[in-house]
Every structure is written in C-alpha cells, then in structure tokens.
C-alpha cells in the first residue's frame, strides 16, 4: 500500500470525524497530558491495518511511541493485544474511533480472505477480489485482501481489460469484442472476457482471448470448461462462490476464483482501545 496515498486518505477520514475539533476532549482532558493505551481484539481474527492505525495516531500532535505485538497477517486469538501506544492523551481519544473503524474493517476482510484461501489450499487456484469494494476504500481493502493471502484483480477500469456481457452485447458478440480489444489495447495488458457457457468459451478461445471469466457457471460445466480450454488461457470462476463451494470450484482446475463477498459484506472485527 502506498504510504503517502494512505496517509492522505487518513487525513480525510479524520477530517470527517473530527471536523472543527474534538470538543469533548478539549473540554475534559488537560492539554499536554501523556497517555498510554492498548488496542485489543475481542474476537479472533487475521490482523490487517496495524500500520494504518499507526499512521492515524501520527496525524495529531504529540510524539508517538508505538509498540505493536503483531504484524499484519498474524492470526490472533481473542482477547489479544494488537499494539500499545503512548502519546498525548487527548490525541489518543480523538483518533481512537477512526483508527478502530479502519482496523476492524480491514481485519475482517483479511480474516475472510484467509478462510477462502484455506479452503482452496490443496489446489493451485488463487482467490482474487473484485471491484465490489466500499467506495473510497479500495486501496485499504485490496491491501487487506493480500494480507489474508488472496490476490488482487485489476485496481480499476484503467489497468486491466475485462469484457463483460454488456460489452459483448454492445460489440455484437464475443469474437468482435475480443478482436477490438486486441487491436487497440496497450500491448502490456491481457484481454479477459466473460462468458456464460461453453459455446462462448469456444468463441473466446478462437478469438485469442488471454483469459476467460466463467460467469455463474456451475461446477460441472466449469470442469468441462477447463478441459475445453486446455491450458491455453487463464480461467477465472466468478459469481455465486461461497465458502462451502469454493473448494469444489478450485478442484476443477480453474486458475482464479473471484469472490465479491471478500469486500462487499464485511462484519467488522470487534477491536477496542483501553487506556492503561
């Protein structure tokens, strides 16, 4: 994760929460008093966002002493301490909520990703995320996906080519859509196309696609698709993937399995800050 970019976003998050100032803290906590606190997880998780939390606390005044007990990617049993920190007491209280909101969300994503990765561990398939991220948080959520052991798909619409059903309809068919993409794409980008059945897969193979996304295809058809492709293109299963069926998909031999639920439906991990 690009630290400068992340810090810039963190400043926006703090501005959202702090606004013109933390009135309560200004009124009740003496200026300049030092404080020490710990951040702990109240449920088991794969930790993600320890550095992000540190960057939060570095935004306000006061030197920060940061003594993490874990690194991103560690699995933590509950209750478990993520870090201790010492700095200006008022700053701790002002930053707390924003840091915890990020930590809880990022750890939830990493935890979920780790589950999916574990479910396909016996196969070479890679779990990848989708663009179903929370608007404005893609940088953080993609990072958490990687912490969990999964891989990232393209970042956005500009650094990868994925021809979907609507593009195919607009272009007049799989072959024509792939042909246009191959003709005009920067030479460093592969051409991936989404298909819904084996006939379309055949068309995609003939048209020279580099990768094919098998959209909402059941496991049996996916197995046939793998045979049909014969290793000539990357195959990605997508749609309707759950923790229950992801193993079966992986065993078909597809290269990639994309899972929107990694990021679009996150039950936050319960993390809290306690003064010591």
């Amino acid at each position: 994760m690009d630290e400068a970019a992340a810090r810039s976003e963190i400043r926006r998050f703090l501005a959202e929460d702090v606004g013109r100032g933390d009135i309560t803290t200004e009124l009740t906590v003496p200026t300049g008093r030092p404080g020490t606190a710990r951040i702990e997880a109240r449920e088991g998780c794969v930790v993600a966002g320890i550095e992000v939390a540190r960057w939060c606390f570095e935004e306000l005044e006061g030197d920060l002493e940061w003594r993490p007990e874990v690194v991103d990617g560690d699995e933590l049993r509950a209750p478990g301490i993520l870090t201790r920190l010492s700095t200006d007491l008022g700053s701790i209280l002002t930053i707390e909520r924003t840091a915890l909101n990020l930590l809880g969300r990022m750890s939830a994503i990493a935890t979920q990703a780790r589950r999916y990765v574990a479910a396909v561990a016996a196969t070479p398939a890679r779990i990848v995320d989708t663009r179903k991220t929370t608007p404005g948080l893609r940088m953080f959520e993609r990072y958490a996906v990687r912490v969990g052991g999964a891989s990232n798909h393209r970042f956005g619409l500009d650094d990868g080519i994925l021809i979907k059903d609507n593009h195919i309809a607009a272009a007049g068919g799989v072959s024509e859509a792939v042909r246009r993409a191959r003709a005009g794409a920067p030479h460093g980008l592969k051409v991936e196309v989404e298909v819904t059945d084996l006939a379309q897969l055949d068309e995609a193979l003939s048209a020279g696609a580099d990768a094919v996304l098998l959209d909402n295809m059941d496991v049996r058809t996916t197995t046939e698709a793998v045979q049909q492709a014969g290793g000539k293109v990357l195959l990605e299963s997508s749609g309707g993937i759950t923790l229950e069926n992801v193993g079966a998909y992986a065993e078909t031999g597809v290269d990639l399995i994309s899972v929107g639920a990694l990021t679009h439906s996150v039950r936050t991990i319960d993390v809290a800050l306690e003064l010591e």
Copy 2:
C-alpha cells in the same frame, strides 16, 4: 444529505474506479451509442440511494433520462426494479459498478435500520446510529439510517459532547468531567456523559448532565436507571444491542438506543444493472 457535498464525494469514488479511463468500454463500445438499462434488486430491501445513483450517472457525458420506480424508503420485494435509465451506453457501463456499490450498501443499512425501528415501534424509544461508520462514507451512511427510520447521533467530534469513560478517567471522575464540559461548552450543546453503573448515573445527575449514555448495562439495571433518572435527563442505551434484545431495552423507557451494527457490519443488498 447535502447534494453538492455528495456529488463531490461521488466524483472521488468514480476517480478511484475509473482512473485514467475505462479501457474495456473505450475499446469495445462505439462512442455515442445510446443505451437503456434497469437497476433491479435481487433481494427484498428498504431502498436507499436512488438519488445518489442518479448523481453517479450524471457525472459522465451524455444526457441522462432517469425513470425511478421507487423512492428512498420504499420496501421492495425481490426481484424488483429500482429505476430505468437511458444515456450514453459507454457511460452506463463505466458508472455501473460505483453506483451499485453505493446503492447496495446504503440499502443494506436502511433495511437493517428499519428492522430495529420496527422492533421498538411500540415504544417511544428512538434508534440512533454511532460513529462506527465506514471512514469517508459517514454522510451516505447517516442518510441511509434516516431513510430506514432511525435517527442520527452527532455527526462527529465537533457537533456534540459525549464524555466517555476515558474522558472521565482523564478528568478524575464523572462530576469533574461534567463540570468542565458545562463550564466551557458552547451554550447550544447539551452535555452527555457515559456511565457504567447506577452510582455513576447518580453522579451524572447531580453534576447537571443533560443526557446520560448507559454503557453495556443489562436490561434490569437499565430499568432501575430509568426510575432513578426520573425523566430529568435523556437516557441512551448503548453496547450489546441486538435485534433480539432491542425491544426489551426499549420497554425500559430509555429515550434512545444506539446501534453500531447499523453501519459497521453491513451485508450488501444484491443489486444489478441490466441492459434492455
């Protein structure tokens, strides 16, 4: 929701996803071709974000014809159509994901809020949100909370006073913390203080707090707290509230019940865009 502020955020969300341009659409969809699509929900929900979605589609070139079939707050059975739209086909495909990400998330929050509100409908208690929102999305999430029928707590640290346990510890007690806040607060803000037991509640009442947050207090103690307060302050239950127990809390007579899960753990509503 402030339309200008929301549009400004939407531009940032689109920049995140579109970056330097939607290569796939540029390569496969002819420029200037008109398109018509519908957005539909594939599961029942309370709709929130119809206008937000429209603002998304208005960001790119092409006049937009927007024909919504619902308004925010409507309950929709699945499958149900939220809106139809006509504009430049390429723009539809470029904007689609960002609009759906917002719609799915906001509708999920409104749906959840509606459930909590229904569970306390027989009482005068108000369901309120917390600051456990997704960083950067508070404006949108608070709006969805209201669409669901619940109320908003303060927006951030600068437009409300809430003295929490750590402030109390720093100030040296409930009384002193409340005294400081009353002395220095702008006269238009109430002073709310968090207490964990009835002794602290007593102290808060004596110190002149305007509102008291009962932190993680069980239903029985909450009932005693309501009696003890005797209507002299606003009482807010917070911590450990679930759909199962929220009714019992409401029946104790508290004025407010705050629920972090309205925003911190959202399972997105499945919404999709189909070309027609």
Copy 3:
C-alpha cells in the same frame, strides 16, 4: 485553535501576498543572510496571535528562533515588545506583512472583547460573539474572542440550532418552529429561538425551547423577560449592545450577551516589525 487547520489557512494567506515570489527581497537581500527582528505594539492592547505569527514565520525556509515576551491574553502597554525572532533575513521581510496583519487584527478583537467582559464583570453574564465575522477568518477571530475572555457562540450553521425571525415566519409561528426543531434535532443540540417580545417568549417557554434570544429588546423589557423565564431556559440578549449599555443588560440577569461588534468592526492594533 486547531494548529493544523490554522497553518493551512496561513499558507493560503501567504500565497495571496507572496504570489510567485517576493521580487524586491530577492533582488536586494543576499540569500542566506541571517536576521533578527522584534515585533512591537505601538498602542496598548490585549495580545492575541503570538503563536499564529510564529506559524507564519515557520512557513518559509530558515530555522526560526522565536523569543516571545508575552503570551496571548497579556495586556501590553505601548510601546511594548511582543516577541523577538531570528531566521533568514529575506524570509523575515517576506512574511512580515501577513504576520502583522493577523496580529493587529486578532489583538484588536481580543482588546475589544476584554473591554466588554470587564464591563459585565460584576455579573454572571457571559459575553459571546456572533457569526458576523470576516469571511474566511472565523477560526482566528473566535480564538481572539476567547483570548479576550469572552465566549463563542456556535461555530456555524451546523453545530447549533438558532431559530430566527425568518425561520419562525416560514414555520408559521414560534411554537411550530420549536416543535419541529425538537422533533428532528440530534439529541445533543439545544433548541434556541429568537423572540422580539414577551408574548413570543411565553410561547417559546411553552413550546419547550432550551434557550431564548431576546432580539433588540430594551433593558426594561429584558428585566421582565428574565422574571418571566424564571430560570427555566438560557436567556441571550442580542442587538444594539454597546460598551455603554452592556452593563445594564448584564444586570438584568440574562445569561448571555452577544456582541457583533467584537468582530465586524475592528480598528486594527498598530504592530510593527523592526530589524535589530
């Protein structure tokens, strides 16, 4: 005052004055030559803005040695030294005007506020400012008001509720306006309403207002209003307050007296920078 926010504004002020560079200094002052100067007041004042001035001088290159002889809130007789400073000579000359413009204005506000506070010192009434501040400078001007010993009203339209005559007219009366505000306001905000006579005051009391602004009410009527309110709400006198009559208003027993002239009509304090 939020230091980071203030520094950000200071950078804008310097950009306004310095533009593409201080040509005169570049042409006449050798690069890298150190300089020492003092800032002095040429008339008596309550000093406000010493730190703000320091932040100005810290914006340009060159380590700054800052040796203040006063702190904000000190009363200074003329001629009196506010601070000495040593840094790059050219930077001193480039920054000088912006720093003095802020110091002169802020000290003028603090000086004026101190006069009003002194005039009501024998009463419990608090002097408060208004939103009649200089556009873009509210953060600095409100701070200077506090330095002078007065209090701040709400910062802006979003962190306090004040129902004025035009709102009342639009809502159809004091009662209805207060009712709407109480129903929809975040529970941490008090509802203040402006009234022009005792009948409206009565209506405001019945409707459950938390505070009442007595608009342009003479001293005798104000005395009656205090009796009528009987301590049940906060009372604020506003409009037509001068140094001459503020004491009489304070003696009526109102809680707050707001004075637009604290900020809307400022005769700058004459401060100057001299090289040593």
Copy 4:
C-alpha cells in the same frame, strides 16, 4: 474582479459558515418553498459588493431572481434598498449571513475610500491602498477600493517592486538597493524605493529609481521633496495620513497618497435582509 476566482472564494466562505448543513433551516423551513427578500442598508454608504452578494446566493440550489436597485459605486442614503431577490426560501436563510458580511465590509471600504478621494479632488493626487488588507480578502478589498474611486497599489510581493527600509539596510544603502533592483528586475516593472528624508531622496534620484515613497514625511518636507524631484519620478506619500491631513499632502504635488486605513480598520456598514 475575476469572477471565477471570487466565486471560488465564496464557496470557501460558505463552507466555513454552513459546514455540514444549516440544521435550523432544514428543521424549520419546508423544502422547496419559494421566498422573496430585500437587502437594505441601514446607514448611508457607497455600495460595493452587489455582484458578490449575487454570487453568494447563486451557490445554493434554486433559481435566483435578482433585482438590484443600485450598482456598485452608487451612494445610498439610509434606509435604502440594495436589491430584491427571489429563490428557494431555505437557501436565502442559509446564505444570508455570508452575503451580508461581505456586503457590509466591502461597502465600508468603498465608503471610506470615497471620503479620501473627495478630500483630494481638487488636486491630481491619487489615493492608493496598501497591503494592510485582511488576510484572504485582498481581491475583494482592492475591488472595493476601486469602487470608492481610489487606485490599487501592487497586488502582492510579486507584481511590483518596493524597496523598504529593511531592504535598504540589508543591501547597504539606497543606491546599492536601487542598483540591484534595476539590474535584476523584469524590464516591465518600475523600481520604487522608500525614503525617510531628503538626503535619501537625493540618493534615490541619482540611483535611477522610477518612483519614491516618502515614508512618514511631514507636509513641509514633502513640499521640498516635490521640488527636489522636479517631476523626474513618481512620488508617493505614505504613513500617518488621515482624512484631516490628506488634503494638505495632496496639495504638495505628490502623485500618490497611500492609506492603510482604507482596509485595515473597517467599521462595517449595517446591511440587513428582510423577507417580504
């Protein structure tokens, strides 16, 4: 005044005052209700800022009908109407304060400038402003100076050369400072130098200055300076100029008289908005 730049500043001013939204108006004024109001001056003035006020009201939603009764530069007796306006009622109430704060301040500056200009009307001397403007408002204040009939000095440090006492000290004398400036200045800029006595004036003339600022020089010495200069350079009187003595300075024959009080000490004009 550059309209686009002014509108950009106005957005900042409104953001300062409105923040996350005008709660009171949202709660008490029905959405979408039209309103009509007039802005009136409650004391005589030279009007400045009519267009600026219009730009303010154009920032919020709702078509604006603007029916001004004066143009900038008109002299208005009190009470006098500046303009009528019709638009969304809520928007009127939200914008009102910012628009009035600008109008009151700008009109005060124009009124003061007009007084100084009138006092020297019998002579060819021009009244000019200084850099003693309110930080962040220079564009607006310089415009108001022109509306009042006076002229602007350089905008900032980058579009004019003015060698002051501290530059002279750093350079080692008037001659050397002027020499350096002439050697390095872009050829389109004149070289102006500040002098405090006739010996320095002599030095400035010999060194080839294009203009000379006579700093805090009394009227008699100024008369001698005019003779000494013999029309070869522009002469500017500065320092200690008041409405009482400005006429005497003008009669000495100086070309320019700069007056800091035009902008640094402004008693706002009382303007108000009334719903009709």
Copy 5:
C-alpha cells in the same frame, strides 16, 4: 482523452499564464465587445488539439462560436486555417497564448508520429511512445501520438510491467526478475522484460515473459532475436531509433518500435491567431 481531466489541466495552465488577471486586456479592450478570429498554421502539419483549443476558449466568459475547418489527424498545408471562433474579444486575447502553446506542441507530436508511422507502413510493426514525455502533459502528448497514428505504451508505472536493466540487477538476473513478476502481478498484466543481448532473450523466453524489449540492439541482432523468439512473445525495439533506421528495424519483424523522440524533443508547429 478524458475531457473532464483535460479541462481540469487546462484550468491550471490558464491560471499559470493569467494569474490574477490579464491587465493589458483589461486596460485596453472594452468589456463585452465581441470578436472573431481565426487560428492558422504557418507550416504544414498533422493537426492535433483542435478540441483542446476549444476547451481553452470555453474557460472564460462569453459564449463561444467555434467553426473548425479541420479535425484532429488532418494533414494541413501551410498556410492553413484550423478554426474560426467568435466570442468576447477580451477573452480571445487572454486565452490565445495558452491555446496556441498546446496546439503547436500537440500538432508537432502528431506530425512527428505520422512520419514514423509512414516509415514503417509496409510492415506490421507498430510505433509506440515512451514515458519520456513532458512532466504534467502526458495525457495530451499520448493523445497526440495516437492522432499521428502511433500507439501508446503503458500510461505510467502502475498500469504495465516493464522490467528494466536496473530491476534485473536488483533481482539478480532476468529469470528471477521475470519469475517474481509472474508470481505477484495482477493476472491481467503481461510481463515485459528488457534484454540487451540474445543470451538474455533466451533467458527471458525460458522464464515465461510475455513480451521482450530489445534495448539498443542493432538491426542484425534484432533479426536474430526475431528468429529466436519464434513468435512466442511480443518483441519491442527501443533505443537509438531514428526516422532513418526505423524502417530497417520494422522489417526485422519486431512487433513494436518505441521512439522517445516522439515526445521528448519537439519543435513546435508555428500556429497563430489573427483577429478578423
């Protein structure tokens, strides 16, 4: 080219040139006078930037009538008219220079690109640009390259993988560098690696690179490289390419030829604006 992004940059370019306002035009040209002008090329060129120029003129006030006589990509003999325009006369004079600076530069790039493309027209080789663009202008320069008929390489460091000599050195060899990139790259990106001799090419082929850049390789060795690669990867010639030798490189059978001189050394096309 993304119109919104381009317009945003154009505003920055105008701010650079216009600053606080076009004094000369304000002083000499009456406000509100309409004007008509033509933009003409005084030397033959491939036109690029007609729309960009229009966007420039649309930035200032005054409705714009724009009557272009060419479209981007047209070859124009000198003297030739690019467009006629009618709008506020003062605005024409203020915008003129910025619009011409862009037009002249972009047309120069398109003209140069067209020459290289023509020189390889008999072969399937594509001419591509490099990252040797003018800082801040990449969007405009890449567009002009396409107008000239050449293709774009990756936009920046984030949307394509190109392993260069220094990366190879850091990774410890071609094989290891390619291996790392293949393991970690998003699956939609090809892995391109730079080699300087046939041994490295062999290594790149074995390691599974998708594309290979032949760095400063002479024509004879390039011919051998093409044979060695046998169509299994994309081959790109780069370094030392001139109009004289580009045809010979193209005939070797490489797929791509990148030319830094398309953008890093541009002799502007002489375009001028004449009032009519």
Copy 6:
C-alpha cells in the same frame, strides 16, 4: 525558483507517472534495499535542474544522500557526471524517469539560452524569454533561461503590461491604447507596446510608452528605430530571431531581444541514470 512551489509541482509530476504505484519495482526489487546511482549527461550541455532532480528523489521514502559534481550553470562535456545519489533502491528506480525528464528539458533550455547570450556578448543587449513556454512548466523553464544567462520577460498576463497588435486594434490605435494603459495601470508597472513600423514607433513615443516591442522588424529598420527612439524608451526586438541573426540585432543597439525558441522548441539533453 520558489522551492515550495516547485516541490508541489514535482509531486504532481510523480503522481502522473507513478499513479497507484510502481508495480514493476514492487514486484522485482526487495523492499528496503539501499542503492547508489549516478546521473550522467551523454552530450555536452549547460546543466540546469540539479536541485530540481534532488527534490524529486526526496519525495519518496528513504533518506537521500546527494553528492552533486556540478551546480546549475556549469558547462559539462560529455560524458559527464551530474551527481551521485544513495537512497532506497526501489525509490531510485521509481523516481528516475521524472527526474531525468526534467533535467533533460531544463538543461536543453539553459544550453540554448547560453548560445544566444554568447552570440550577443559583445553588446549590452539582453536575451529574454517569451510566454511560449510549455503549459504547466513555466516556473521551471524560466529558471532554466536564467541559468543559461538570459533574462525573463513578465511571468504572465498579470505582472506586466504588453500591448500587442490585437489590443491596439481593439483600442483604436497605438496612442489610445497607451493612453488607457497609462491611466489605469498600477503605478509600479511600465507600459510596453508592440509596433510594426516606424510610424507606430513614433506614435508610441509621443503617447508616453515606457518600452516598445519591435515586432518582426528587419535589422535595418531596427537600426532606424533605435535612432528614432533616442534612448527615451526601452526597445525590444521580437520575432524571427535566430542564432544566426541575433548578433546583428544586438548590434543595432536595442535593449532586449526576445526569443520564443528558448522554450517552445527544445531538443532534450540525453541524461541517464546508472546504478553503481
């Protein structure tokens, strides 16, 4: 050059090239590995931009050790080392292209300027630049012009007055245009006017212009113009100036010679970075 402003632009340039991150370097270069490199020129040049390049490398993480072997303005024979640097290896590779693009361009401008200055060295004429700079780079290009020994014209439209043919046409003649400018210009700015023949020059002299630009005037007529002006105004030759004829123009006695080719047609200097 204003360092803070330059650094701000450099951040934009890096954002353009690096975008969401340098994928190749992230994938192939181990994090935290130190590196040392040298920047060398592969052709003779006047160096400009050494500090600018340093600022580039200071933008990314990692302490920078910078050991320049030249300063701006030095003439370097090829191959020659400009600087050595040590910092994080990955950062070196990420920054390299942006730094070299700036260095190559700035050095090219300084080199060209030096040639023109040398060609007029026997005369008092000054070579000056024009507004024909690359949009967005004026600050850097003007600096390079000065490094080469030439002088800068006005920065933009707001810090100098230059009445051109179109202004004259709009005003109705040279006299009227000059009169208007003299009447309204800030007193610190000279009035320069462009003329195309001796009759217009005569008119300009009578109207009181401070400087006259002789537009596309041949050498013989320029000689007459110098005599006609008799030293009363600054004379600037402009248009059609080349390295071949610039000396002849200088010998006519004009004060200034402006050369658009200093900046509008730059063949970049070949600079490269080599790891050591």
